[in-house]
Symmetry: C2
Subunit: 149 residues, 2 copies
């Protein structure tokens, strides 16, 4: 697996891509974000996003899957302590295909837990037209390489 010592600030990893078909955007919104702007084509045209869109939480969930698929910790558990500045600069539309760039922005050994540290990753997800649909900076909890004895 990948340890704290293996990260390099500025390094960028590109995830695979994922489609967000309408069937899935509707099912997610019906369950977790049941609002007309995500469920009803006609009403969404009059809504704040000018047409039907995926829930932003659906976009975030798909980006999480892409991060798992990118295998950033090479099999180690990908545990986010939290996320700074989650934003949705443009809506995701049903049928969009998204992928993300993952840039290492800081690497900080833990003071309280010498076995671990925190890696902050700048995530930028774009759709098939290059429009940025999600940005966030999760703080990942990453194991340090065990010392050789």
């Amino acid at each position: 697996m990948r340890y704290l010592e293996d990260f390099v600030v500025g390094e960028i990893l590109r995830t695979p891509s994922a489609a967000m078909p309408e069937e899935e955007t509707l099912a997610f919104a019906a369950k977790y974000d049941p609002q007309a702007m995500h469920l009803d084509h006609e009403a969404a045209l009059e809504g704040p996003l000018g047409g039907i869109s995926a829930s932003g939480w659906h976009t975030a969930a798909v980006v999480m899957r892409l991060i798992v698929e990118a295998d950033v910790l090479l099999g180690g558990p990908i545990l986010g302590l939290g996320v700074e500045e989650l934003n949705w600069p443009a809506p995701t539309r049903p049928g969009d295909v998204i992928s993300a760039d993952l840039e290492t922005v800081s690497i900080t050994p833990s003071r309280s837990r010498p076995t671990h540290g925190v890696v902050r990753i700048r995530v930028t997800a774009r759709n098939q037209d290059g429009a940025t649909v999600l940005t966030m900076t999760p703080k990942l909890w990453v194991a340090r390489r065990p010392e050789q004895s």
Copy 2:
């Protein structure tokens, strides 16, 4: 619907509660966060959360539904421009029942769009034992009350 002028800093709204049964935590994790700590009881015991847990993105999605159910804008569209400081202080476990407090922390008329403004809401979600499982501060895009002519 509820307009920017109807918000009061410090006001707290309590959402309804929602169960997160294991069937649902497993289905969400299988689709969006396929990691052993969310899917496999035995492997999760050895993992960083000391037992199986829901994906943090699942908790966030359920909290979104609770915000919609709390009807914070009285029928107006609940549109988050972004979220500051999303954190998961404790894991959500399968079978947990969560609810959230929504506290208005700031109300800012938009400079560029005089018809709207931004309301920052501090969200604190707790489980049935009172442990905080999610905090975040979304920025909601809220219409201003139309002027009487």
